[in-house]
Symmetry: C3
Subunit: 238 residues, 3 copies
């Protein structure tokens, strides 16, 4: 379901479950792989990708959600909290994280990609999309906050309100992904980028603390006072 290998300083986490739809079993397999990555020391980065040629991750496991009784997807009741907690862990993961978006990334799959530090996307095919409004759902607040903290405001609006389907070149121009490449070069480029960034993972205390300051409780950048006030009253802010 989740394959984890190491190449140089890069932990390569390959989602290997078909469309890589999210259920409780998938969340726990991801969490277990992250435990292994986090137990390492020294320079390191995390690269996630998919074994599928068509899907990075296609969203929630809707078949499982609609089913009843025993199911390989696991406990339905705990899913919401466990999935959200996993996303909160990835967005503050204490080493550089790179997503090689090799195919469609919808809904929860898009969230996962956005929780990474860097995204490379396949240039020729595949869309990323937060399709909640398209299917009649309001996007939950934590997901809104995720997109709002990662994207320029114009891109944020088109993403969450208009459920825009972004292809690779559009996603690059909109600031959603940092580069694009043909499928046959994507993995190698993502691996090279992760290797380059792995040096920052050597100091996990600083790297993780920075993300907490950006995205955590009472985040430094979300206060009501602007930078002029904070600069002039610096003693109150360190």
């Amino acid at each position: 379901m989740i394959d984890l290998t190491r190449e140089g300083n890069v932990f390569v986490l390959t989602m290997n479950d078909g469309e890589n739809r999210w259920n409780t079993r998938f969340v726990r397999a991801m969490a277990a792989a992250l435990d292994e990555v986090e137990a390492s020391t020294g320079a390191a980065a995390l690269l996630t990708t998919s074994a599928s040629e068509k899907f990075y991750s296609n969203g929630l496991d809707l078949e499982w959600r609609a089913s009843t009784g025993e199911h390989r997807g696991g406990d339905r009741d705990v899913f919401g909290d466990e999935f959200m907690t996993l996303m909160g862990r990835i967005i503050t993961f204490p080493m550089p994280t790179v997503a090689a978006v090799n195919g469609h990334a919808f809904g929860a799959g898009f969230m996962n990609a956005m929780c990474h530090d860097v995204r490379l996307m396949r240039s020729d095919r595949g869309f990323i999309c937060a399709n909640e409004v398209e299917i009649g759902m309001v996007i939950p607040d934590p997901e809104l906050a995720l997109f709002r903290h990662k994207l320029p405001m114009n891109t944020f609006f088109e993403t969450v309100q208009l459920a825009k389907r972004w292809g690779g070149p559009q996603a690059l121009a909109a600031g959603i992904v940092q580069s694009i490449a043909p499928l046959e070069e994507l993995r190698a480029q993502a691996l090279a980028r992760a290797e380059e960034l792995s040096r920052l993972g050597a100091n996990r205390a600083v790297y993780g603390k920075m993300k907490e300051r950006l995205y955590g409780e009472n985040a430094a950048i979300n206060g009501v006072h602007g930078p002029a006030y904070m600069l002039r009253n610096g003693a109150a802010f360190h």
Copy 2:
């Protein structure tokens, strides 16, 4: 003053008052047209444009503001509140809204365009501009908040502090408008885009609620806690 027609699923609201400057009579004519649009049911979108070839809307009706006694512009005292309330209504309108900016959009006219979900702009002529600082006025807080929530921060600053005049291609590159077209193609492209988005207007409860979450009271995205905190404490945010 305001013409309202329907083409397919699209309500076409044409501002037809010369430079389309804002006074109380103009605000009330717009509000009445919106009442008619909002009373509809089913798939729908709103397209606004202007009958002028030179102006989408050229700002406040300064001649009226400076005048005294009876005037076709109507009650001067209620204007500020009624105009701002109308803008607050448009930015949360419960169906997709598209502005075909076929000419200059200054001050209040720029605000109106920015309250829409999508903007197409004439490519060859015309500027959009928040010219308050240029004419010695401080921009009111609600207008600042409008621009700040819709634009990338660098574009926001140039817009409100430097009173930058954005032509079509520049406005596209800066993230202010989503596409540009020659005047003779602008209306048809805007109509096609509105028709395409009208499906999202079928579920007005979800579409309107999303905008309230983005732009309303205690907006979900404006809290002090970052997305990592919100994701980890999801139960407190739904």
Copy 3:
């Protein structure tokens, strides 16, 4: 150390101290020059640049920080507060400010450039970079807030978390600088831009108040209520 001249309506402040690294003496020389600029009246703009061909400003004076006893850099204890206060002054300076970034701008030098209203950057050589994470430091909150208020969110993240080194063309595409030019044309273009903007400096009360509203105490744009709420309840916001 700091040269100040006037060309037309533009005060040209040239940092002339080699790599222009920040110590207390340098901060005070800058502040004294700003006093002189601010004492003027009428149309005016401030242009800052460097006498070096390689550095705009290369960050803190690390040699001074690591030294003990008498040093030309001055009092070490007061530096943090005085530097931050100076940055808070520049970001709200009551006339247009233009930085001609003619070479590397690292750390404190990057902060200084970002406190300006407009940045032009050399196109062929030189990087701007907030390199704290690269050297194992967490960026202080006021500096985070500065970058977060000036940059699109995707650019902000790459800047502060990944310590990205931005060359001229990249910085332009990312929204960090507003234009680029070859070194031999940079100063003239920056001077022309400052001269053009100097008209806005004639009304210093409005120009300075706008920046306070954007970046000061209880900044208008940082409240928890979104623009729809503010527009509908305009009376509470003016």
